[in-house]
C-alpha cells in the first residue's frame, strides 16, 4: 500500500472517530462501537478498490463520502448491532471479492448479491409484516361498492402489498433521503443535500453505459433489497433497519461525482463540488451538534 493511501486511511479513521465523540461520551462502554464504526469507511475503501482495480479515485471519493455521510455519522454511535453487522458485511464482501478476483471465478457476482440479501434477513423480526389493521377501511370499501369489489381489489393480500410498497418507497423519498422529516434524526436526511443530484446521476449513468454494469448491478440490487426488512416493520419509517442502504447510496453518489470529475477535468469543477459539500456539511453538523438534542 502506498504511503499516501495509508495516511489517507489514518486521517479517515481519525475524522470518523472525532465526528462520533463530538456528541457521544468517550468511555469504555462506547469505545468498541466507536472504533468499529470508524473502521467501516476503511473496509469500504478496500472493497471499492478491489472492485474497481483500475483506479483508486472512486475508492477515495466513496470513503470520504461515507465518513461524512449523515446517515452513518448518526447511526455510528448508537447501535452496536447495526454497525457490527455492517462492518461484517463489508468485510465479507471485500474478502470474497479478493478471493474470487484472484481465482477469476464466475460465482463472484451471485455471491456478492446473496451476501447482502442474507444480512438483510437479520432485521426481520416477529413484528415484520404486522401492519396496523383498519377494520373500518374494509367496511367502508364494502359499503361503497360490494364484497366482490373488495375481494378483487382490496383483499388482505392486496392490502399487505400496498402497506409494504408505501413503506418501501418511503426509503427512496426526498423526505427520507435529504430533508429528514421522517428520519430518526429530525433535522436532516440520510445524505447531504448536493448528494441527491449525484445519486440520481450515478444511478442512471451506471446503467446507460456498458462499462462495469455487473458491479453496478450488485450495488443496485443491494440498494433495492436493503429497505425490505425495514419496509416489513409496522412503522412507516425504520431508519435503523434500513441502515445497510447507506452503502449503495454512497456508492452511487460517488459514481455520480466520479463521472462529473472525469468529464469536466478542471479545477473550478473540483472546487465547486468541494465548496457545496463543505457548506452542506457545515449545515448538517450545525443541525446534528447544536439542534438535534434540543
Amino acid at each position: 500500500m502506498a504511503k499516501n493511501t495509508k495516511a489517507f486511511l489514518i486521517i479517515v479513521f481519525i475524522i470518523s472517530f472525532i465526528l462520533k465523540i463530538l456528541r457521544v461520551e468517550l468511555n469504555l462502554i462506547n469505545l468498541p462501537i466507536l472504533i468499529l464504526s470508524s473502521l467501516i469507511p476503511i473496509v469500504f475503501f478496500f472493497l471499492i478498490k478491489e472492485i474497481d482495480q483500475k483506479s483508486e479515485k472512486l475508492a477515495f471519493i466513496s470513503t470520504i463520502l461515507l465518513t461524512l455521510n449523515p446517515y452513518n455519522i448518526y447511526f455510528s454511535d448508537i447501535t452496536l448491532k447495526t454497525n457490527f453487522f455492517l462492518f461484517l458485511l463489508l468485510l465479507m464482501m471485500w474478502l470474497v471479492s479478493k478471493y474470487f478476483h484472484i481465482k477469476n471465478n464466475k460465482f463472484l457476482l451471485p455471491i456478492l448479491i446473496i451476501i447482502p440479501l442474507i444480512f438483510n434477513l437479520i432485521f426481520i423480526d416477529n413484528n415484520s409484516g404486522l401492519y396496523p389493521q383498519d377494520q373500518h377501511r374494509t367496511q367502508t370499501i364494502i359499503n361503497e361498492t360490494n364484497s366482490l369489489d373488495y375481494y378483487i381489489f382490496y383483499n388482505p393480500i392486496q392490502l399487505f402489498l400496498r402497506n409494504f410498497t408505501i413503506r418501501y418507497l418511503n426509503y427512496f423519498s426526498p423526505e427520507f433521503l435529504i430533508f429528514g422529516n421522517t428520519f430518526a434524526n429530525p433535522r436532516h436526511g440520510t445524505i447531504l443535500y448536493p448528494s441527491i443530484i449525484f445519486l440520481i446521476l450515478g444511478i442512471f449513468i451506471s446503467f446507460s453505459s456498458k462499462k462495469k454494469q455487473k458491479i453496478n448491478l450488485i450495488f443496485l440490487i443491494w440498494l433495492l433489497i436493503a429497505p425490505i426488512s425495514a419496509a416489513l416493520s409496522p412503522e412507516l419509517i425504520n431508519s435503523n433497519k434500513a441502515f445497510f442502504m447507506s452503502i449503495p447510496l454512497v456508492y452511487f453518489i460517488s459514481i455520480g461525482i466520479y463521472f462529473i470529475l472525469n468529464k469536466y477535468k478542471n479545477k473550478l469543477v473540483y472546487f465547486s463540488i468541494i465548496f457545496i459539500y463543505l457548506l452542506s456539511l457545515i449545515y448538517y453538523l450545525d443541525m446534528y451538534l447544536n439542534h438535534f438534542i434540543k
Binding site: E144, F153, Y154, T165, N170, F172, E175, F207, S208, Y283
Partner: protein
C-alpha cells in the same frame, strides 16, 4: 402509416374519449370553479359582461382570484348552442384532452419516426390516472397543458418544414396557454426558453424569419401581462406562494434561539432565507416522491382518487427503464432527450412556488414527459423480450398486470371516489338548487350553510339567475388569507354559518351538520348515504 396502426390509433382515441366522456354531465358532481366558468360565460352571452359587470375581461374577477379568461371564452359556443349545464362547461377540456393524446402520438412520431413507440405513448397517456382525472372537469390546467403540447409539436414540426407557419403556431399555442392557467405562465416561458437554448443553432440560422412570429408572441403576451399585474396578480401569488407558509420563518427563530451566542455561521445557516430555500427545494422534490407518483397521489381530495397514485404502480419500473433507455439509446435525438428531461424538471416548478406541494393539479404537465418515459420503458421491455423463448408468457403477464391496474384505477375513480370524498366536489347542489327555486316563493328568506366552498355561484349556475340582476346585487367580502372572497347574499339567499336562534321567521334553512332543534323537512344525501344537506322550515 399502416392500416392496422391507423386502426389502433383510432381505437386508442375512441377509448380515451369514452373514458373521459362517460357520465361527464353528472360525475364528478361540480365544483365552484366550474360553476364560475359556466355562469360567467352565460353572463357574457346574455349581457356582454361577467358577474361583476366587467365587459369581456381577460381575467375574470370571480372570487377575487382573477381567473385567466381563455377557458371562459372556449366554453361560450358550447353554452350558446347547448345551454348552460355541467356538460357544456366541461366539453372544451374533454375535446382538448383527447387532442393532447393525439398530439403526443404525433410528437413522438415526429421525434422518433417510430410508430409503435408513438402508439404506446398515446396509450399510456390515455390510461394515465393523472391525465384522466384532470380531463374530466373544467380544469384550466388541463387545457393549458393541451396548448403547451400542441405548441411543442409545432415547434418540432417547424424544424422539419414550413418554418414560418409552424413556428408561428408554436408561438400562438404557447401564448394561448398563458391566457388559460396561472401555472402555465411559469412553465410555458421556461419550456420555450429551454427549446430556444437546446436548438440555439437552429434558431440562430432562422433569425430573419423568426422576427415575425416573435412579434406575434410579444403582441399576444403584452395584454395578459398587463391584465395580470392590474388585477392583483402579485397579491394572488402572495396568497398562495410558498412564502405565505410561516413554517420556515418560525423554524428560523426557533433555531436561532437554540444558540447560546450567535456567530456569523449560525446567523447564515439558520437564516430564514436559507430555510425558505430548503422549503422550496422540499416542495419541488416532493413531486418526484415515488409514493406521490405511484401509490398515494395528491393530498387534496379534489385532485386524487382513493388509494391510487398519479401513475399506475406498474408504471414505476418502466419509468426507470425508460430513463435509462433514453440516456443509452439513439431512439430519440440527443437534443430531444435533453428537452424531455428538461420538461420533466421544469414541469413541477410552478407548483413548487406555492404553499401546497406536491400538487397534481399545478404540476399536471409532468404527465407528458412521464408518459413519454414510461412508454419508452415499455417499448424497451418489449424489445428485450422479443427474442426470448418465453416472449408470449412475458407479454401475457404484462397485459394482465396492466389490465388489472387500469381496472383498479377506474374502479377507484368511478366507484369509490365520490363516496369516499363527498365534500371534495360540491355534491348535492344539483338537487338542492332546483328544489330551493321551487320553494323560494313560499318564504321570505333562504339561509344556506357556508360550510361548502362558494355556495352562491352554484345557486347562480343551477338557477340560471338573470346576470343583469346579479351584476347589480353582487358584493364580495374582503379577501381571506389566501386571497379569496365570496358573496354572502343575493336575492333571498343568505350564505352563512347557521345559528338557528338568529334566523328570522318564515325562512327556509339549509344546514350541513349544524344542530337544529326541529325535524328536517327534507334531507339530501351524499353518494355515500350520509346526509349532505338538511332543509328546515322556520315558520
Amino acid at each position: 402509416m399502416k392500416l392496422i396502426q391507423k386502426i389502433i390509433l383510432i381505437l386508442i382515441l375512441l377509448t380515451a374519449f369514452f373514458l373521459r366522456a362517460y357520465k361527464l354531465d353528472s360525475f364528478p358532481a361540480i365544483n365552484s370553479d366550474e360553476a364560475a366558468i359556466g355562469y360567467n360565460a352565460y353572463s357574457l352571452l346574455q349581457t356582454g359582461k361577467d358577474e361583476h359587470g366587467a365587459s369581456w375581461p381577460l381575467h375574470f374577477k370571480s372570487f377575487g382570484d382573477f381567473k385567466p379568461g381563455a377557458y371562459f371564452y372556449l366554453s361560450l359556443p358550447f353554452i350558446k348552442v347547448l345551454d348552460l349545464n355541467l356538460l357544456t362547461v366541461r366539453l372544451p377540456n374533454l375535446i382538448l384532452s383527447v387532442l393532447t393524446i393525439l398530439f403526443i402520438y404525433k410528437l413522438v412520431i415526429l421525434l422518433t419516426k417510430n410508430n409503435k413507440l408513438a402508439l404506446i405513448s398515446a396509450a399510456v397517456l390515455t390510461f394515465s390516472p393523472w391525465h384522466l382525472h384532470f380531463s374530466r372537469g373544467a380544469w384550466e390546467s388541463s387545457v393549458a397543458l393541451s396548448f403547451i403540447v400542441i405548441g411543442i409539436y409545432f415547434f418540432f414540426k417547424s424544424i422539419e418544414k414550413k418554418f414560418l407557419l409552424n413556428f408561428s403556431l408554436f408561438i400562438i399555442f404557447f401564448s394561448a396557454s398563458l391566457y388559460t392557467y396561472h401555472s402555465a405562465r411559469i412553465i410555458a416561458p421556461l419550456l420555450a426558453l429551454s427549446l430556444f437554448i437546446i436548438y440555439f443553432n437552429f434558431i440562430k440560422s432562422k433569425i430573419p424569419q423568426i422576427i415575425f412570429p416573435i412579434l406575434i408572441g410579444v403582441i399576444l403576451t403584452i395584454p395578459v401581462l398587463f391584465s395580470f399585474l392590474q388585477n392583483g396578480g402579485s397579491a394572488r401569488f402572495n396568497g398562495v406562494g410558498f412564502t405565505s407558509d410561516q413554517g420556515p420563518l418560525l423554524r428560523s427563530t426557533e433555531l436561532l434561539n437554540q444558540h447560546k451566542s450567535l456567530n456569523i455561521i449560525n446567523r447564515t445557516i439558520d437564516n430564514k432565507r436559507v430555510l425558505y430555500s430548503i422549503s422550496w427545494l422540499q416542495k419541488y422534490t416532493s413531486h418526484f416522491d415515488l409514493n406521490f407518483l405511484a401509490t398515494s397521489g395528491d393530498y387534496v381530495p379534489r385532485s386524487k382518487s382513493p388509494d391510487i397514485g398519479q401513475i399506475h404502480l406498474i408504471d414505476l419500473p418502466f419509468l426507470f427503464l425508460g430513463i435509462i433507455y433514453l440516456l443509452s439509446s439513439t431512439i430519440y435525438h440527443r437534443r430531444s432527450k435533453i428537452f424531455i428531461l428538461s420538461f420533466l424538471l421544469i414541469a413541477p416548478l410552478a407548483a413548487s412556488l406555492t404553499f401546497q406541494a406536491p400538487s397534481a393539479l399545478r404540476a399536471l404537465s409532468m404527465v407528458i414527459p412521464i408518459s413519454i418515459l414510461i412508454a419508452l420503458g415499455i417499448f424497451n421491455f418489449l424489445k428485450i423480450i422479443q427474442n426470448n423463448k418465453f416472449k408470449n408468457i412475458f407479454l401475457i403477464i404484462l397485459i394482465l398486470i396492466y389490465g388489472y391496474s387500469i381496472i383498479y384505477s377506474l374502479d377507484s375513480y368511478f366507484l369509490h371516489y365520490e363516496k369516499r370524498y363527498p365534500t371534495a366536489w360540491q355534491t348535492g347542489f344539483s338537487e338542492l338548487a332546483p328544489y330551493l327555486e321551487q320553494q323560494k316563493n313560499q318564504y321570505q328568506q333562504i339561509y344556506v350553510t357556508n360550510k361548502y366552498d362558494q355556495p352562491y355561484i352554484l345557486f347562480l349556475f343551477f338557477s340560471k339567475y338573470p346576470p343583469q340582476l346579479i351584476q347589480k346585487e353582487i358584493k364580495l367580502t374582503p379577501p381571506d388569507n389566501f386571497g379569496f372572497s365570496t358573496v354572502l347574499n343575493y336575492d333571498k339567499y343568505h350564505f352563512e354559518k347557521i345559528n338557528w336562534e338568529k334566523i328570522p321567521s318564515n325562512s327556509l334553512v339549509i344546514t350541513s351538520d349544524e344542530i337544529v332543534p326541529i325535524e328536517p323537512k327534507k334531507i339530501i344525501n351524499f353518494p355515500n348515504g350520509q346526509p349532505g344537506f338538511k332543509i328546515y322550515s322556520k315558520l
